[in-house]
């Protein structure tokens, strides 16, 4: 079983709302980071006046603030180079901000210890813009990784992986090496891996860049289902067709700053 760090349990988003599928699984895996009393009234992801400068002097984000509530789905748009990926990387602790505060599940990410960062990442499913899939592993193996990392039993892994691959129409390719797929298929593998674990937080970076509108719809359907199951979802995209007409919040980055 996963180690518990710091004693502050990270309550699964899944059991906050009714109708969450597979609550039992979630209860076993997810830990409670936030204390009971302010879990509901504080944002799940809180970015406060964050500045990120890449060496030597490339300002990717400047004084950016963003609050995402638990269970919210939000779209992050902006031109190429605006800083969308950088913001997602900061939230998942892949990069460190030069200034400002980033809180996830009520904890300051700058102060997390190694084990706590690992625990936090286990709760985050990220679909990377460059996919980061293993070309020589099969599709199944790629998608199963986040569950294997949590030592889930094989039967459960199989079930869940098949389910998510089916939802993305990738089940017929599951035993092929991921490197032999078309780019759009690889992108779906990356999305499936981010979603397979029903994580509390999903960060999707340009998830439909290589997908046609039909498949994009499937992807959005998957995300919507997960969101209804309690997951908080942040989607960075330039594809207006996937957020036009939704009731969800859309924020726009421009040259490292949010525009109203």
């Amino acid at each position: 079983m996963p180690a518990v760090h710091g004693g502050r349990p990270f309550r699964p988003a899944a059991d906050v709302r009714p109708g969450a599928p597979d609550t039992d699984f979630d209860n076993k895996v997810r830990l409670h980071f936030m204390s009971e009393q302010n879990r509901e009234n504080r944002p799940f992801v809180d970015v406060v006046k964050v500045t990120k400068v890449y060496s030597p002097d490339i300002v990717a984000l400047q004084d950016v603030s963003l609050s995402v509530d638990r269970g919210e789905m939000i779209f992050l748009t902006g031109m190429s180079g605006a800083g969308k990926s950088t913001l997602l990387k900061l939230i998942s602790c892949m990069e460190r901000p030069n200034k400002g505060l980033i809180e996830v599940a009520g904890r300051d990410t700058a102060k997390l210890k190694k084990g706590e960062i690992q625990e936090l990442r286990q709760q985050i499913g990220m679909a990377y813009q460059d996919f980061k899939i293993l070309p020589r592993h099969t599709v199944f193996q790629n998608v199963a990784m986040p569950m294997e990392v949590l030592y889930r039993p094989g039967r459960e892994i199989k079930e869940r992986v098949n389910e998510v691959l089916e939802a993305l129409r990738m089940d017929h390719k599951k035993n092929l090496p991921a490197g032999k797929l078309s780019r759009g298929e690889q992108q779906r593998v990356a999305i499936a891996r981010a979603a397979v674990n029903r994580p509390a937080l999903i960060l999707a970076d340009e998830p439909t860049g290589n997908l046609d509108s039909e498949i994009s719809t499937l992807v959005m359907k998957l995300f919507t289902e997960l969101n209804e199951g309690g997951s908080t979802i942040i989607i960075a995209t330039h594809d207006s067709s996937i957020y036009e007409g939704t009731s969800h919040r859309v924020v726009r980055l421009e040259h490292g700053m949010f525009t109203a």
């Binding site: 190694k114 936090l120 709760q123 990220m126 990784m145």
Partner: protein, 295 residues
Amino acid sequence: MSRLKYHIKQTWRNLGQSWGTQIMTLFTVSLSVLIFSFFLLIYVNILAAGDRFSDELRLVVYLDHEVVPEMQPQIRKKIMDFSEVENIVFVSRKEAFERFRKQLGKNSDVLDDLGPEIMPPSIEVSPLRDLEHLSQLKEFSDYLATLPGALKVQYGQNWVERFGHFTELVRMTVIMSGVLLVMATGFMVSYTIRLTVVAKDAELEILRLLGASSSYVQTPLLIEGLMQGIIGSTLGMALLYALYTWAAGRLSGPGFLRLFDLTFFSPLTACAIILVSIAMCTGGSLIAIRKYMRI
């Protein structure tokens, strides 16, 4: 328990995916162990040969008159004052004459009319084994020349020096080869680690991003390193033993006066070498992935 099964499954899968690298690593380990223990074995045997060589080393002090038995302890003491020695033998004129007669063999009848007084008496001194260097021997010989009545000090200068020279050359050859091989082995090992890391790079990066615990990442690699260490070093040691048997076979023969009785490592030493290699293999795999263990 179920976690260990998880890790073993993982290791097994890795093995299937990267058996090329695995075999290469195995060869590297075997070869490294072979090379290291080969030079260790040679070094050990040279030391032993040196011992046996000095066994046979004697200095002969020719005297102008025999040492009467009462005087012997005094001279013994005088010699011992300069240096501890292995053995001191006093050879009288008569004993020397007998030796000469034997040396002439059939022709010894030429000595029939002569008495032992034609031969000089002598003292034979066997230095201690640790008196290795020729310069020390020379010094000792000079000292012995100052004994009362000493005419001349002789030792197999010719052959001793020649042999000493040769031994020195061999020692240096072995040392230099050893240094070169250590460097080559070092390169080999570091290259293997680099190639392994290149191969695993993407996977370790992704595991890190998925929040895999350190034990999840390290255990399969440890098992892998352990297995490679065990198989590789045992193989290397077995190869060395085969080589040794071959060499010993070639060197045996009508071995009267054989200087080199080759010996292999004791089982204990062999085990120690294998254990150290195993430890280094597992340590190496850990070092190779340590940079992925930071967050």
